[in-house]
Subunit: 527 residues, 2 copies
Amino acid sequence: MEQLQISPADSMGSPGKEQRAAGVGILLQIMMLVLSFVLGHVLRRHRIYYLPEASASLLIGLIVGGLANISNTENSIRSWFNFHEEFFFLFLLPPIIFQSGFSMQPKPFFSNFGAIVTFAIFGTFVASVVTGVLVYLGGVTYLMYKLPFVECLMFGALISATDPVTVLSIFQELGTDVNLYALVFGESVLNDAMAISLYRTMSLVRSNMSSGQNFLMIVVRFLETFVGSMSAGVGVGFTSALLFKYAGLDIDNLHNLECCLFVLFPYFSYMLAEGFGLSGIVSILFTGIVMKHYTFSNLSDNSQKFTAAFFHLISSLAETFVFIYMGFDIAMEKHSWSHMGFVFFSILFIGIARAANVFSCAYLVNLVRPSHRKIPMKHQKALWYSGLRGAMAFALALQSVHDLPEGHGQTIFTATTAIVVLTVLLIGGSTGTMLEALQVVGDGHDAPLGESFEANSGYRAPSYEGESSSGSRFKMKLKEFHKSTASFTALDRNYLTPFFTTQNGDDEDEHDELLGDSRRGVLRGHD
Amino acid sequence: MEQLQISPADSMGSPGKEQRAAGVGILLQIMMLVLSFVLGHVLRRHRIYYLPEASASLLIGLIVGGLANISNTENSIRSWFNFHEEFFFLFLLPPIIFQSGFSMQPKPFFSNFGAIVTFAIFGTFVASVVTGVLVYLGGVTYLMYKLPFVECLMFGALISATDPVTVLSIFQELGTDVNLYALVFGESVLNDAMAISLYRTMSLVRSNMSSGQNFLMIVVRFLETFVGSMSAGVGVGFTSALLFKYAGLDIDNLHNLECCLFVLFPYFSYMLAEGFGLSGIVSILFTGIVMKHYTFSNLSDNSQKFTAAFFHLISSLAETFVFIYMGFDIAMEKHSWSHMGFVFFSILFIGIARAANVFSCAYLVNLVRPSHRKIPMKHQKALWYSGLRGAMAFALALQSVHDLPEGHGQTIFTATTAIVVLTVLLIGGSTGTMLEALQVVGDGHDAPLGESFEANSGYRAPSYEGESSSGSRFKMKLKEFHKSTASFTALDRNYLTPFFTTQNGDDEDEHDELLGDSRRGVLRGHD
């Protein structure tokens, strides 16, 4: 029976005591949250980049979890700390992913859209398969614990989900090159969606193994999920844009109503996709992008400020909580440390797989890009390095404990846990040093984000003329794809923005005039 | 085992299907929320006061619940709608109660503090006992279902919790007299805390019946809970004020950190009290009052705007959700309608008990008030009428189903359900008409809230000289109490405000100067 089973009717016990335990459990969680925020603030203030906020939260969770493990905490309190995947997927993840989409700077993102999609979709697929095959081969050659092939692929899928939180906060702090930032950001967000779709597809394949579906069916099924979820998300986003355009809620005293409705839409999108058996994460991500791009400008000025701060607040709470929660759970769970070999080789293999992902995709992208826009080697190295694993991998691994037979799920879980802790602490801690070593820091400092982007934007027009001489059929295909993202910008400017936002209305007050002006300014920049 | 048991490990089933059911369940809830907000907006826009937002939400819940009951909804989806008291007490109630304290206008509230406390503490006690005794007598005389005496008192306590939501939204809309507004508001908020303390005390008495505690012990125990919770709440509030005064977070780029910490404090207070076995509601209410009065002014300008809007948003979502949830659950639960007599007589008795509460307390309050400040009869009638029952009574009744033996709990639950639905729909719908009939509408329209209050404030100084001739010993006692609330204002002005807020600093920017100015203006008004 699936339900939010708080205080089940049959556990009569003493309700007072139960409520007390809940109180103590939640109290501890709040205290850790406050501690993380304060510690994170202090660290940032003293510019200590080798212990970023996410690592600090993870460490706090680990330490408190360790203490709770040693001491004789009551089981009733302890149970408030178990990592429940459903809680994670239904309540913690949606705000984080939505905020990723919502806070995405549309210009660098869309101008790198082709590259991001290549890295996130094709690259993650490559990384999953490479990891899966290597782990399988490792098992066959008795190097490590032997898993069946489908389970190796499941492990490959879940471990390919990179985490945006830690790396990006450092990138932002140091003022990295906008294009590199957009690549890392876009890839790590979209590949969560890809990894979860892949994992679910593989899980389905595993349970339907006997019915003998062929490879084509799997691909169709995967595309169905991905495209379906994306359409649902975009659809909900556009619906919200139209609602706010025509409902006339942007007058003063309806501020609260406006915000309530705005806040409900992302969750609606997430649950709509989940209800149809699609991927809520993919859906809410695209809802975030669409709502920021269209719906947001239909809000009143006050509501714009409020909703932006609201989603930022909720997602930072959720993010910090996820890392604490993860640290705590890692310290509390039983792990099968007997397979240290598995852990060691997995780390090696995911490094190889990430290299296969990044360098092959960068090669493909560079094939179609004009020379001044090619992804330089140092950016590729930074991309390779920034692939630390976080909450998504952890949550999927925890789910695999339920999905797979005893030993397999447990091994995958232990390996994932170790990988998450190591990559968050080591990679997260050394990103600053790495960025400085690769000399990709400071570009953003010299020129503000907007300008430095403006400087190398507008590259598309020459790209089709200047480079089409070396055209193999494959390169043509890639360019077609690239062109389609360019024509999307035109579509957006000429049809979508006027249709979904209040830009075309002269019947609005001064505030809308201002908005219109700024938007026209943006358009002029494109011309 | 008490825990947030989502997707228990032993219910292996198909995780995809479970997640889908959760998705559909939550999707339905979001759709009802959106519908409620939109419907509420339309109703308010057309000034249809006989169907306020809370009634509309309740009706939506009832209708959808009824439909779900008729149709063959899957159990897994249905289970997402059960009203879980713990979910209500841990996640829905805290924001509502905090917002009550946080949005309280301190001036009318503190100038009516004596009256409010009399109504909420003494009055609720009277109402509980009267209801309990009448229900017991009704049982003894075979008028209605017979309950043991302690259970009658438990019923009396839970049914004495009046609901602020519906009535107050109408009061605000119509612009009622500020003093009446403060009375109704303060009473309905504080009596929730009182009712829950009484209910818990009675529940404790019931389970410890055999150990033969005397009446004194019960009183001590009750005071312990009430005073302890209040101190915890006030303590957390003051701590937060000091933190924000000295942490120096009110600079621009720490906006998000500031808000995160501010948002965590109320919940911290709630859980602290619950963890100590005290009443979280009482605690969070006082934290709300203290944080608004002291901490709030230590925030940066942006954060002030944001947090005010944030708590408003969260509490309106929670409020609307509670009414929908309640309506849905009422339509879904099995009720023992065999005891219609019990329902009928309880409604009669709570009317009598409320009269005993309001008129006796008003008499006491009027004894000490100067003639121009006495509570007029029409205000007393409005107070009597505005006592509709809402979510708190419902949640406590649901808890009583677990606390009491089968038949008793079920009877109390059915009666409470019927009373909630009837009072919300009938009283909520007719409050507008009643207020107009009693001619208490429009005072607020003639003069803005602030002014009309300013006009009859500052009444305390004369009150002690002008009226002390008729002094019986009892009246002196009451006046002493009244005086203590007046001296609290002096304490606040001279010590608390300078100590807990940034008012005394000249090192702050223009914004703080402004705040200081306005506060000095307020103080001058008091002199």
